[in-house]
């Protein structure tokens, strides 16, 4: 027995909704016959496409012989067509209404899609909800790296995670055919790709055998990111086996990761993925002490981060006692032993935008939602004005037999159609403007890979919300329209005028109220920005320029810092227009500070003295960095 192919469920539901009563049975069976024949002759995709076209054609054409139940949907179709005719008759007003909704819904969708992308969207890996990060945290809450032998011991003892790997990411100079580029590099242990569950596009990915506990035992290999491979190697499939210089270390390319792989950092997809131990020479660490900034793990099926936390806490003290470096002693060793593990879910990956902008984006999304409400109230006011202007036409309809329900339904359908059109335009606006807003959040990072795509659930929710709001807000205009049509024809014109004037005033007041709140909020926001830009930083920031130094690998061997930096400062200061120059490891008010306890030498040591924020700098810093 051959199974009969079933058309898409949604399309079948639409047919049932449209062709109820006497025609439902034969129309459904006819469409099924056509679908079966097309699947056999042309394949499933073609049949589905044509089926939707057939359903659409049936939906919009009235069927004879349908029972009263079908009239509702037929009337709705007729009302939608009437709405289209009205739009064509008043293109300016229509464009204004659609544009208002498009702007408001577009702004809401941009803010929400950005918030969704940096805070809620899971990583595009298999079963991202199983991914966790394990950190060794001290009493002050600071994260500390884990040595390879600790990772190895952890992997052999624990039972709650199926895969475990070390992870870090950084920017490094990469040399390709004598050209040097600054590239995003993930520094990992060999099980990383097993953890994220992706397969190679070309060649192979890193494997546990590539990785060793020491730099000497680690293979000098690298995996390219798909975009880096296309941009820098023109998508050459023979790239496997060639060499690339990473921080001065020649690494052999063994494969290319697939396009879907974006790494653990959501903002920047890695250009290369390399075993961390290959960087030991570049970073000048001892052969066996190249620690992993993070440890990532995949929970076994049914496991939770809380259970993993509980299991690791039990084994952690003995694990640390065995694996903390023997070279550590005294208080430093005790501090290392006192660290405890923290297991956190990382289904949404790592992000530097998240802590910075999550709260602001939530606020912006709420403001955009409020703006959408304002647009809805404005639309209601517009519909009231239009209903009043259409009074003669509405009276004519009543004279020809239309009921008050018919008139009200037409206004509601028109409002819903405007909301749908406006939201669709807003969707296009959001797709266009989303990347621009993202660029404004962090202009220094080029080629951000944050996934801003507005998925179906967001689009459907926006559409549903805007339509529901439009329907609710159109009830008042619909009621006014029915009053206008039914009473104005009689001798009670004055009553009607009073009635719809009251409604118009009410809507106007509501519009003013919501708009005023928005304006006040925006005003406070602008005032805060002005206050921030006028804040006294304690130094004259006028004419300051910041220049970052990016050292070349192998370019400074045998260099004497005590001679190089003063000479560099002297060269910079001698440039015409530069008054003075200074060196510092991080910009003031730009993060990157350190803390230490400072006590005057004349007083006895005070162990509980509050730490001071310190910043190292070369002479002349307080005068200027590089001053024009």
């Amino acid at each position: 027995v051959t199974a009969v192919p079933r058309p898409p469920r949604l399309a079948r539901a639409l047919v049932r909704l449209r062709a109820r009563g006497g025609r439902r049975s034969d129309v459904e069976a006819d469409l099924q016959d056509v679908y079966t024949a097309r699947v056999a002759a042309h394949g499933l995709r073609y049949a589905r496409r044509r089926f939707y076209a057939d359903v659409w054609s049936v939906w919009w054409r009235p069927l004879r012989g349908t029972e009263p139940g079908t009239r509702g949907s037929m009337r709705l179709g007729q009302d939608a067509r009437d709405a289209l005719r009205l739009w064509r008759a008043r293109p300016g007003l229509t464009a204004l209404a659609i544009g208002t909704i498009a702007l408001a819904s577009g702004a809401a969708m941009i803010c929400f899609s950005l918030l969704d992308a940096i805070a809620f969207k899971p990583l595009p890996v298999s079963e991202p909800e199983q991914l966790v990060a394990i950190s060794a945290v001290d009493a002050q809450g600071q994260n500390h790296s884990l040595a390879p032998r600790a990772l190895q011991a952890l992997g052999s003892r624990q039972q709650v995670l199926s895969v475990l790997c070390g992870y870090g990411e950084t920017w490094l100079p990469v040399t390709i055919r004598s050209e040097q580029v600054q590239s995003a590099v993930e520094t990992v242990s060999g099980a990383y790709f097993d953890l994220v569950g992706v397969h190679a596009l070309v060649g192979r990915l890193l494997e546990p055998t590539d990785d060793g506990p020491t730099p000497a035992a680690t293979r000098r290999v690298a995996v390219l990111g798909e975009r880096f491979w296309r941009n820098r190697f023109a998508g050459d499939a023979n790239v496997v086996g060639t060499t690339v210089g990473v921080a001065g270390e020649p690494l052999t390319i063994v494969g290319v990761a697939p396009e879907s792989f974006v790494g653990m950092q959501i903002e920047v997809a890695p250009d290369l993925v390399i075993p961390l131990q290959t960087l030991a020479a570049y970073l000048g660490t001892a052969p066996d002490s190249m620690p992993y900034p993070y440890v990532l793990g995949r929970l076994r099926t049914g496991g939770t981060a809380q259970r993993a936390q509980a299991a690791l806490e039990v084994m952690w003290p003995s694990l640390m006692a065995e694996t903390v470096s023997p070279s550590l002693d005294g208080p430093a060793r005790q501090q290392a032993l006192n660290r405890r593990p923290i297991v956190t879910a990382v289904a949404t990956g790592f992000s530097f935008l998240r802590p910075q902008y999550q709260a602001s984006l939530r606020l912006l999304t709420a403001l955009a939602g409020w703006m959408l409400l304002t647009a809805g109230v404005s639309l209601a006011g517009l519909l009231v004005a239009r209903a009043i202007a259409r009074a003669p036409e509405l009276r004519m309809r009543v004279a020809l037999g239309a009921s008050r329900a018919d008139l009200a339904r037409q206004i509601v359908v028109e409002s819903a159609c405007l909301a749908v059109a406006g939201t669709l335009a807003g969707l296009l606006l959001a797709r266009w403007a989303g990347p621009i807003l993202l660029g404004l959040l962090h202009p220094s990072v080029q080629h951000m890979t944050v996934n801003l795509a507005i998925d179906r659930r967001v689009a459907a929710a926006s559409l549903g919300l805007a339509t529901a709001m439009a329907i609710v807000l159109s009830l008042a205009p619909a009621w006014i329209a029915t009053r206008v049509a039914s009473l104005s024809a009689s001798a009670h014109a004055r009553t009607v005028t009073t009635s719809y004037t009251r409604w118009s005033e009410g809507l106007l007041a509501a519009q003013l109220a919501v708009s005023l709140m928005l304006v006040i909020g925006a005003g406070l926001f602008v005032r805060t920005l002005v206050n921030l830009s006028d804040t006294n930083l304690g130094f004259d920031s006028h004419g300051l320029l910041a220049v970052w130094l990016q050292p070349k690998p192998d370019g400074y061997r045998g260099m004497n810092d005590l001679e190089y930096y003063p000479a560099l400062l002297a060269d910079l200061s001698s440039i015409p227009g530069v008054r003075s120059a200074a060196l510092l490891p991080a910009l003031p008010f730009g993060g990157g500070t350190g803390q230490s306890t400072v006590t005057p030498s004349a007083t006895p040591p005070q162990p509980l003295a509050p730490p001071l924020t310190r910043r190292r700098c070369r002479p002349a810093f307080l005068a200027l960095w590089v001053c024009q």
């Binding site: 034969d26 459904e28 069976a29 006819d30 054609s57 054409r61 012989g65």
Partner: protein, 108 residues
Amino acid sequence: MKGSRLGEFEEFTLLAVRALRDATYAVPVQAFVERSASRRVTMGAVYAALDRLEAKGFVRSVLSDPTPERGGKRKRLYEITPAGMRTLRDLRRVRDRIWTTIEEGGGS
């Protein structure tokens, strides 16, 4: 009867009902018109045309008995009426007359 003139698509549909002989239904009509006219035809267009033809009295429809191959559902079967046949012949006669005139080089 709501008018006796036929649009192009109505004419195609009526011809299909005639060509497929008695007791055809919407699915073969759609396939026939699509194949003969070499253009895509939706089921909605066929239903609308058959409804109009029925309203004009050129076809009549009855519901068949339920059949197991259609899951116990019935077909709406159409057959051409004498008025429909007359209209088709009239149309053909008009067209033949015009073509004869064209082929004889007249009418210019």
